[in-house]
Symmetry: C2
DNA sequence: ACACATTTATGACAGTTGTAGTACTACAAC
DNA sequence: GTTGTAGTACTACAACTGTCATAAATGTGT
């Protein structure tokens, strides 16, 4: 497959939250990211700037210069990062059993009816593909 | 619900692997844990001992003394830790959509037919419960 | 008693993460 | 041109993680 799991081997919470912002828009300046995060948690501007620079060094984001400011974009996809976390959860915690993992998700998350319908459809499709 | 997410806020890889061992048996001495891990990765005995002691300080494991050696057991359940990882994955990466998260799991994991059947059953049960 | 093995306790160190203060740079307005 | 202002770069630091080496304690065998 790829070495995605090695690149974002261990992502901290703030880094994940920053990525989350960057996944929701095509690009964002430091001020933009800071503003978005600020709404949930007070953070110094420089904290965000520092994290973004460190994350760029690790290849998680990239920037272009617009005037005197940097405009960042994510260079990893949510699905890649999700794969890491999902793999970790399924393999390490649930001994490789996807069923157990999903079962747990269902039990601990209070899912709405439409979600269940969507999931059912999803699985039927997967079955069709596997047949 | 509870504050489980605060206790094992950020678990490192080795800690997770140690817990995995401790989840697979009722209890295990340091040597046992070390032996199990040794098979996949060369590790100094003291590394494991140190980690276990640190983990006990954080309430992740506990020990009793048997003669001169410590016998550890996990004090958190796999499902608790799975909840953290699952929550993190679903909320932060997949914007709260369990469907997207599971969909991703299905696509990236090459699931066997029986797993799909089990999942389908799981969802039907969840539906019945919600009705 | 003495050497050897087993096991826990401490101390150390490098790398990462969150956090932010300080410093430097460049433009904007007067 | 001096003064804000906004932005990046650098430095620092505490907490945590993985990693051990070394020390200290407590057996075991002969």
């Amino acid at each position: 497959m790829n070495d995605s799991s090695s690149t974002h081997h261990r992502l901290g919470d703030l880094q994940l939250r920053i990525l989350k912002v960057l996944w929701s828009v095509p690009e964002a300046s430091v001020a933009d990211v800071h503003g978005r995060l600020q709404s949930t948690q007070p953070l110094a501007y420089t904290t965000v700037a520092t994290l973004l620079r460190r994350m760029e060094a690790r290849g998680l984001v990239a920037h272009r210069e617009q005037g005197r400011s940097f405009v960042y974009r994510a260079t990893v996809e949510a699905s890649e990062v999700g794969a890491s976390l999902g793999h970790r959860m399924v393999e390490q915690v649930f001994e490789g059993s996807l069923t157990d993992a999903v079962s747990h998700l269902l039990r601990t998350r209070d899912v709405r009816r439409e979600e269940l319908d969507a999931l059912e459809k999803l699985i039927r499709e997967a079955k069709r593909r596997t047949r």
